[in-house]
Structure formats: structure tokens, C-alpha cells
Point group: C2
Chain length 438, copies 2
């Protein structure tokens, strides 16, 4: 009995993959479907090149530049079946994935669900801070940014305008640093020209970091370079500050201080997208516990890869970093192991090949920690960053196009996609006319 219009697997084991991110995509690519039927489930019909979400948020690129249609990616893959839906849970006894459209039987299950923003249970923060984990969120952030500036141009109240022109970014990791850099460039090259009636010198971008350095997982040299660059770009850097609350108008910090702002961007904590229904022992602190064959604890036929998985090793005592490369390599290794099993060959444990860390801060401003302890900054780091990102945009809209967009932006400083496609102006204005919460 196969629901959801799925053909019977014809004697082959059926592998169900939940999530079309870096892990799931690379798993499906590497899997030999002569030996397995593969069913990919995702709530979106596209894969997101997440490292460039901040570019969509700051109008450097538009969504199709960093998204790839999943059905198109696997057009030539035999016995591959995509279904767009949300997963509700897992019945591990019946070996079924439960969805609103029906249940799907699996022989092997691969969990590649990734992470989402984690507001540590603070509902007010969750309701008002803007996360940047998905394409809709990136678009929403862009709409919010430009709409907030439009509103600053509509008010005659200096306090209101100052709050509208103050933007807070929470978290000094790569997303926070890259976003802050992009916003600074946007201010300099676009906003100052586009808003002649507003004094854009009063635009404040504040990066708030709980610890005492930026890019904690990078080398000290890179942290220092990032700091120097952001200071040169007029980003205010607040260290040792933790946000405690935000109601849409006033941010409150753990030390009791407050700040009036209409914008708090959330680049801080994330948690894994753990699905209901597996044994309580399979996950801890929002991540599936896996062995070096990516098997979820307590299960023989359930696997987890990428950000949602937690794997320690001699080299990675605190678990592997939550970066695309780990997800990609886990997906590939797991698929190769399945292929090996089908041919009665030996499987191999996962071993992470660390290619280093890269973060771009602006035009000719970037930091790179490469294998062998090599550290680069400035134009060389920027150039490597550009090449690596273009290279990995395989299967996307059009690598050439995105590259040209980029080069175009680089030469002309011209952000073309600063459009508020679906303004929520009425509600925003109505809100603006009610007194802010003290």
C-alpha cells in the first residue's frame, strides 16, 4: 500500500530522506538508485545555498540566485521521488513517516532536517526578532529593512526616527559579521543616495556579541581582522552583552540597559529540527546523537546528517561545527556506505576533512583560515571566498548569472533588488501611531 502517488519500490529497499539541505542533497546525489528507491521530502520545493542568505537580506542577490529547484536537480535520477510536504512525526514501529497527506513506509530513514533559530523559550523575542535561516526569512528581513527606512522618511518625530534608524544584529559569528558588513556597504553605497531627505549618517548598525571576540571558531588573527574591518566600516561593536528581551520597540539586555530600536536581527543560537516519534534516547539538547556511521542512537535503520546530528571524535570533542561542509561530507559518506552495502563491500566511518573557514565582510574585506594554518585577509581572502562560493553554486539558477550579478555589484555598487515586493505598510504605520511600550 503506497500512499502519496508513490510507485512500489519493486524489491529494492526504500530510503526516505527528510530535508533537501546540503546533507540531503548530497546524499541523494551520491546514492546509487539501481540498488535503492529514494524518496525526498521537504516543505519547500527548493534547496537553499544558506551561506548567501545574508545577500538576499541586504538586496545584493535575489532568492532564485541562491535557490535550486529540487525536482530539477534530480531530473535525470532514476527511481527518485520528491514530495513537497511537512513531516508531522515518525512511527518507528511501523517504519513510517507521518505527514498531513498520508504515511510513507521506509526501510531506511535519513534525517537531514537542519536547524532553526532558537530563542531559548522567550516568546516575545521569537515574535519580534528577525531570524535569517530560510529564504522567506531573508526576504522578510529585506522588506523590513527598506520599509523601516521608508517609515523613517514619513515621521516628523526625532525619537521615532532614531529608533527606526537603529539596527541591532545579535551574534558575532559568521552570519552576524557578514550581515553587519553588508549593511554597512548598503548604507554607504545605496542608502545615502536613495534617501536624500533623511540624514543617513544617523543610521546605526550595532553588532551585539555575548563573548569577547568576533568569529570565535576562527583563528585569533581572523577575529582581529574582522574586528578592525567592522570598526573601519562604522559598525558599533558591543561585547559581553546579552539580549534578554525585545518587544518590537525596546531591547533589554541582561545588564539591565535598554535600547530603542525597531529592528533586532537574530544571528545567535540555533537548535536542531528534531521530529517527534523516535526514542527519547536518540536526541539530546535538540540534536540526534549519532555514531561514526551516522546511525542515530538506539536505531539500526535511522540516520542523521548535517546540523541536526551531534557527533564527537578525538579531534572534535565538542561535536563537529555546524557548517555546510560537514553536512555535505556526511551526506556523501552515508550514500557511499549504502552503495558499498549493496555490493557487499565495506563501509567506512565518517571523517571530516576541514577545508577551513571563510567570512566576507565587504568589498575587498574578508578573512580566511585555510588548511595548514594559512591566514589571509583583504582582497586575497575576498577573492578566494568569491571563487569558492561561485564554485559551490552548482545546480543553481545559473552560476554565470550569479557571478555576473556579483561582479556587477562589485563594480557599480548597485543593489538592484531593493524592492519591498509585499509591503505590510498599513499595519506598520498603524503600529507606529500607537505609543511604544515603555
Amino acid at each position: 500500500m503506497d500512499a502519496l502517488n508513490l510507485p512500489a519500490p519493486q524489491g529494492k529497499p526504500r530510503i526516505v530522506v527528510i530535508g533537501g539541505g546540503f546533507g540531503g542533497l548530497n546524499f541523494v546525489h551520491a546514492l546509487d538508485t539501481r540498488h535503492y528507491q529514494v524518496v525526498l521530502l521537504d516543505q519547500y520545493n527548493y534547496h537553499t545555498f544558506a551561506p548567501l542568505l545574508y545577500q538576499v537580506a541586504t538586496a545584493g542577490l535575489d532568492a532564485p540566485d541562491i535557490c535550486g529547484a529540487l525536482r530539477k536537480s534530480f531530473r535525470s535520477k532514476k527511481d527518485f521521488h520528491f514530495r513537497m510536504l511537512r513531516v508531522r512525526g515518525i512511527d518507528d514501529g511501523a517504519q513510517e513517516v507521518l505527514t498531513e497527506a498520508g504515511s510513507i513506509h521506509y526501510d531506511q530513514l535519513v534525517l537531514a532536517t537542519g536547524t532553526r533559530a532558537n530563542f531559548f523559550g522567550n516568546d516575545k523575542l521569537a515574535a519580534h526578532a528577525l531570524p535569517l535561516k530560510t529564504v522567506p526569512q531573508a526576504r522578510q528581513l529585506r522588506h523590513h529593512l527598506f520599509q523601516t527606512l521608508e517609515r523613517a522618511d514619513l515621521t516628523d518625530d526625532p525619537a521615532e526616527r532614531s529608533s527606526l534608524m537603529t539596527f541591532v544584529i545579535v551574534g558575532g559569528g559568521p552570519s552576524g559579521v557578514e550581515l553587519a558588513g553588508a549593511l554597512s556597504e548598503l548604507r554607504r553605497h545605496v542608502l545615502q543616495r536613495d534617501y536624500p531627505d533623511t540624514d543617513t549618517d544617523h543610521l546605526r548598525f550595532i553588532l551585539v556579541e555575548g563573548g569577547d571576540q568576533l568569529l570565535a571558531q576562527f583563528s585569533d588573527k581572523s577575529s582581529d581582522d574582522a574586528l578592525r574591518n567592522l570598526e573601519e566600516m562604522n559598525i558599533e561593536l558591543w561585547f559581553g552583552k546579552l539580549i534578554a528581551d525585545y518587544d518590537g520597540r525596546t531591547a533589554t539586555f541582561k545588564d539591565g540597559s535598554t535600547l530603542h530600536t525597531h529592528t533586532v536581527i537574530w544571528g545567535a543560537g540555533v537548535t536542531g529540527e528534531v521530529i517527534e516519534g523516535l526514542s527519547d534516547k536518540s536526541a539530546e539538547k535538540g540534536h540526534y546523537l549519532i555514531d561514526d556511521h551516522m546511525r542515530v542512537r538506539e536505531y539500526q535503520n535511522v540516520y542523521a546528517i548535517g546540523d541536526v546530528a551531534y557527533l564527537t571524535s578525538d579531534k572534535w570533542l565538542q561535536g563537529h561545527p555546524g557548517v555546510a561542509q560537514v553536512a555535505i561530507q556526511m551526506g556523501q559518506r552515508l550514500a557511499k556506505n549504502f552503495n558499498a552495502l549493496a555490493k557487499n563491500k565495506e563501509t567506512q566511518p565518517f571523517e571530516y576533512f576541514d577545508k577551513g573557514n571563510l567570512a566576507i565582510i565587504g568589498r575587498n574585506r574578508a578573512v580566511a583560515d585555510l588548511p595548514g594554518g594559512i591566514h589571509l585577509n583583504g582582497f586575497p581572502a575576498w577573492f578566494i571566498w568569491a571563487v569558492v562560493h561561485i564554485f559551490y553554486l552548482i545546480g543553481f539558477r545559473n552560476r554565470l548569472f550569479t557571478f555576473l550579478s556579483w561582479v556587477g555589484n562589485y563594480i557599480t555598487y548597485n543593489r538592484s533588488v531593493r524592492l519591498v515586493i509585499e509591503p505590510t505598510l498599513e499595519e506598520e504605520l498603524r503600529e507606529a501611531h500607537t505609543p511604544a511600550t515603555p
Copy 2:
């Protein structure tokens, strides 16, 4: 007293323009702001190249390809002020435009508000049929199309699947014809490859026209060519059929017949966006009545241009056609008249120079009626259409890019932007599980 952060006009008359469409945009471009202050109001921060909306709806182009940021377009224009907001009304006594953010005084007012879909007072139709007049609507239509196909791949009920795979387009004018053609190409070149588990031969596209021919305002030759092309492309053509009602599941026609479909696209009637507050005698049947100097009846300092205006002449006894060229030429003429007045020169009445009609139906399929009674079809018409449209995309994202996108699509048949960025899948599925209204 100048609200909304607007500088005082310093002795110059202030012209307020409502609407940044073809009329408003060309008016502002041509106006000499050494003699006037100009304030442009729009609810969106971009201009839309409306003739290509159907391309956004069918995943050939994405929104930034056909949108131009208004602030960017007028960056170098002195004493130009853009404000993004919705207009609530006009106080003609006080000479003020009323908005939720405050009131704006005008010396001269230019109404360039365009049209919106008109469902003739049928709320059910308005709630369920999908119009295609704005970028958000085009995106919503694209999301709906692809999401409906995803749902067809999730159901095991043949009647439900057949309803999901039936798409109705209402109206045989240029929008309806161009959209039908684009959908047929999408079926042939994308859908048949992307949905291996669904028999896309069962995809039905039905174009419903109340009259007895397509493209009624074109030459008979063009109408016939359009008919032949759409028939060759397997579009079902229903003539003399008027839709009476649609509840989201069943379309009912005036002759009593019904059709089960999840999609009705509205390419039929439109009505002008008339604003509250002017004299009752100024507008009739949803359009401002203007003289040949674009002056609204009963007023000396209120003008209307483009689709929202109704102007008859010896040549255009039923009014001018609602096309971009009329709006462009009206905007230019009105600005030139203002410029002339400032220099005590004579103004000139509006006279429409008809450049002809063009409609594209598919790859190498188009019809063109050019000045001098010249009729073209096939590749020559298609080529002229492409050149004209690229030429008019001045100031947009990037003419080169859009052109390359196009050439790319032409060569590869590859639609890259078939993404459902913000699926409403949960609600859609829930709906699907409740019985359809009989």
C-alpha cells in the same frame, strides 16, 4: 506646515503624483524640476513593467527582472521626493492628499493610479479567482501553480487530481493569450520532465472568452493567428462562455454548466483606482473624465493620466486603449505642458501616436499589428516583440541580464525560478481534506 519629512517647496508649485506606473514614471522623468517640486506617492517602492507580469507568473522571469526601484530611477532628479504609502483620499478644498501618515498639500495633483481587477461585485469570485495585475499577484499565481502540481502528486484520488490539473484562464485579451501560451510551453518543457510520477498529459489549460474571438482589439488576421497557435499548443478554447461564479473548487458558467478546477486565473475586467474625495462629476464607471489637456472634469489643478483616465477623441470614440503606450505618452505630454507653462509657452493637447499591438504566444509564436496596416506573425513578430520589450526595460534591474535570461530560456527551455518561496501547504492540504463544496 509640511508633514512627512518633506522640505518646503521654496516658492515653486508642488506637484503631487499618485502612482509610479508608466504614466507617473514618465511624467516625473519629463518634468523640469527647476520650476516645480515633485512628490511621488506609491504603496510600493518600485515600478512594474506590467506587460511581463505573466512571465513572473509562469517562472520565466523573477520580480526584480521587471521591477525598477523608484528612488533609484530618480536619484539624480533634484527636488524629487518619494514617499511610500497608501493614499486614503483627497481634500480638494484644502488641496491635500490624505494618507495614514499625514496630509500633503498640493498645488497641482496628478492621478496616475491605474486599474485593478474587477469582479463585478461577486465576492466569491474575488476571493477565489487569481488576478494578475501586480507583482505580488504574479508571485502568488506562480506559487499557486507549482503548489497545485505538488498537491496533484500527493493525492491518490483521480477526481481530485483531475481538478488540480485543470487550469482555467478567463479572458481572451492579450494577458489571457500570453499567459495561456506561456503555460503551454511550461507544460511541454518543464512540467513533463519535473513530474515523472504524474501524467502531465492530463494537464488541461482552458481559455474562456465571452466573445467570439481572441485579441478583439487586434486585427482579424492577428486574432486568427493567435487562435491557430493556441490550438496547436493544446490550449482548450471556449468561446461565448461567461463565468458566473467560482468557489475555489467549482466554476459555474452563465449557461449553467460547471467545471471542477482548483485554479481560475482572472484576465478579464478591470476598473480604475478612483480615490475618494473629488466631485461626483469627475469620474464615471470607475474612470476619471479628462479633457485633451488631461484635466479632470470640474477641476483646474487636478489631472489624470493612463488607465485610470477616460478620454475620447474623433479617432477614439470609445476612449483610448488601456495600454502602456497611452499612459507613457500622456505622462510625457502633461509634463511638457507644465514645462511650457513655466516658461509662458503654449501647451498642446494630447494626441495618441499608435505604435501598434504586439502579443507573444510562445517560442517563435507571436502576432504584431504595426502602423500602416502591417501584420506579422511567427518569428518576425516574436523578434520585434523581444526587441521592443527589452528596449522599454530601461532603468530596470538590468536590461542585459533580463535579455540574457530570456535568451537562456529560449535556448534551453529552462525555467529557473519555479520556486514556491513561501508555501501555504498546510492550509492547502487541510482544505484538500475537507470535502469540496458541491
